[in-house]
Symmetry: C2
Subunit: 408 residues, 2 copies
Amino acid sequence: MKLVCKQSDLNSNLSLVSRAVPSRPTHPILGNVLLTADSEKGRVLLTAFDLSLGIQTSFAADVTSGGAIAIPAKLFNDIVSRLPDGEITLEDKMGESDSDEEVNSVIVTLTSKSGRYQMRGMSPDEFPELPKIEAGSAIQLPIKALTEGFRGSLFATSADETKQVLTGVHLIVDRDTLEFAATDGHRLAVVENSNWQEEGEEGEEGEEGGKEENSAINLPFELTLPGRALRELERMLGMRQSSEGEEASSTVALHFEQGQIVFQSGDHRLTSRTLEGQYPAYRQLIPSQFQHQMQIDRRQLLSAVERIAVLADQKNNVVKFSIDSSNQAIDISVEAQDVGSGTESMSAEISGESFDIAFNVKYLIDSLKALSTSHISIEMNSANSPVIITPLGGTKMTYLIMPVQIRS
Amino acid sequence: MKLVCKQSDLNSNLSLVSRAVPSRPTHPILGNVLLTADSEKGRVLLTAFDLSLGIQTSFAADVTSGGAIAIPAKLFNDIVSRLPDGEITLEDKMGESDSDEEVNSVIVTLTSKSGRYQMRGMSPDEFPELPKIEAGSAIQLPIKALTEGFRGSLFATSADETKQVLTGVHLIVDRDTLEFAATDGHRLAVVENSNWQEEGEEGEEGEEGGKEENSAINLPFELTLPGRALRELERMLGMRQSSEGEEASSTVALHFEQGQIVFQSGDHRLTSRTLEGQYPAYRQLIPSQFQHQMQIDRRQLLSAVERIAVLADQKNNVVKFSIDSSNQAIDISVEAQDVGSGTESMSAEISGESFDIAFNVKYLIDSLKALSTSHISIEMNSANSPVIITPLGGTKMTYLIMPVQIRS
């Protein structure tokens, strides 16, 4: 194998795939990046895979002779990222080591303008193959809608690995809507992106046929996707958009079959297991009628709540909202015994009677940060029933928070 | 006590003094900031003190009635830093708590545009007094020379608290030179700033008389100052320069007596213990003659060494320099068994015979980063004797590194 490529290309692609390299590999080979050089296509393929999440990218290079080698990911990345811009030559050869036991090891040599590095690689045969989806379905999804959906839901997934499906985002793809839902059992986030097929059409068709392909699939379908994979997908899509500009291909292909998904976006591919198990029937948790409603400035509320959180931090994270409909104002307060107390007051458009309700301030802050509109609506029934926060305008988002009981 | 001040003033001064609040106070009172309001002067004084390092600042405020209170530093800082720009009112009153045991506690009330916070403070009488230097000597030192001296030496102090004087910077003030030295036993940094009294004169005279005062002191004098205090002093001086511009008072007053120093710069004061014990006689470690010398591009050498460090990290941090005087070039190499190897080559102006020498790469990187000139000189005698790195031009700096034995 021998190839010459640009440092910038190797560096950016290596950073991307390295995200799928486990920090403590269960098998030595998983700490490597698989580098495959294709002399016919003049491309280099990089692959990393932790047996659940896999990332693969490719870029153009001057490949003199093709081949493959697994290279220690961290070492390779650390060296390449410190090299100056310019050409890099990579070449492998069988180990020339003196000792007998190392006859089968592979040495890869990296040559830059001023330096020459040799790294001990592993045979590409040991590297596990990324799952391929041959028979499964595929659909083109607009990057903008996906990014918005993930951003609006990922924060509400559970970090508790024992909670299985709750660590993921539940995606429902229907003819008219893309729906993203996440819940950790304490709060729920639902993003509904309607007319997504039209959005997709605005851009170019995508690499694999776009519209026609979509029409071949049975809609609706549902998948629960691991949070970790989606965070990497967000990063990958963001990277692609920033490097190719807004005008570039605006869709990503989602291939799926039982237990496995593949996102393909340009030269980048991300594969992941799906999460098995019944996703909670969250729709039924969202009340349809409310006795209290208020409309309020989101940023102002967020900064008031963040100040109150300093004290709430000392005391179960509970903040009290005193909703005063006659004055069209709310007081947000906290009482942390032995430490202090605080109250923030602000105006709001309130309908319904005055009442008090308490929240876990962390859930409140997460929701207020995930929203982006200038004003939001908060709908409530009682101090013990689910509260719904929605943006005023923009994409439909529904954030459900359970209130906390107020200590008398 | 009652006062009204600007959020920006309170916030910046609170951030500064908070640096002297220990994260785990040995006494509860040390976790507080002492706030003293002076109605006559219309100023607020903030003090924090961990019994070794003390920081005090003052700023203008509308003080209706004077007084003092100790306020929990972290809580106070966290709330104030999140408040919007605008006026803040602070007021204290004796505890109104229901329970008997809290009768003696003090409550401070902070009122901003939209919020009202109450914090449980402590009596100012419990707060330890900052050391005052009544009879000691004082001298005006130019901020520029101090900042350069600390920047060029602090990195070489020992982080090992048991090593006493080695955790500090040794300062020698003489008529013509300010000398800063630091060593952790493995390397040595010496910065000599000559003609510092002229530098000081370029600016204005400083708050306490400047030149005349300096002439009253017996020169030279020596002090060993704790690294931690100097890092905070660097920050304090940097903050003052950025807020008041380059033109502002260019000196800081250093007051000292046995075991104690006070730096006074405008409204900011920093006090610290000095480090006791004989500072090593470092001058005698610096060779006066060399058999090998090279001049080399600093930035190019630094980036080459940083790449080689990736591999050296895996192997005792040792890098080898092969100095080839006939080709006027050096090879920097590392051999990390089972991992890989690397070589960087670059040109240098070399005098003396070719030879090999090895270094701890971390010490080398620290020195190359602390220097700022485009080219540097490296002087050597043998693979086992001290190596001296100096800048070509600028302030006189001398970095001594002991080579590491080369494995055969």
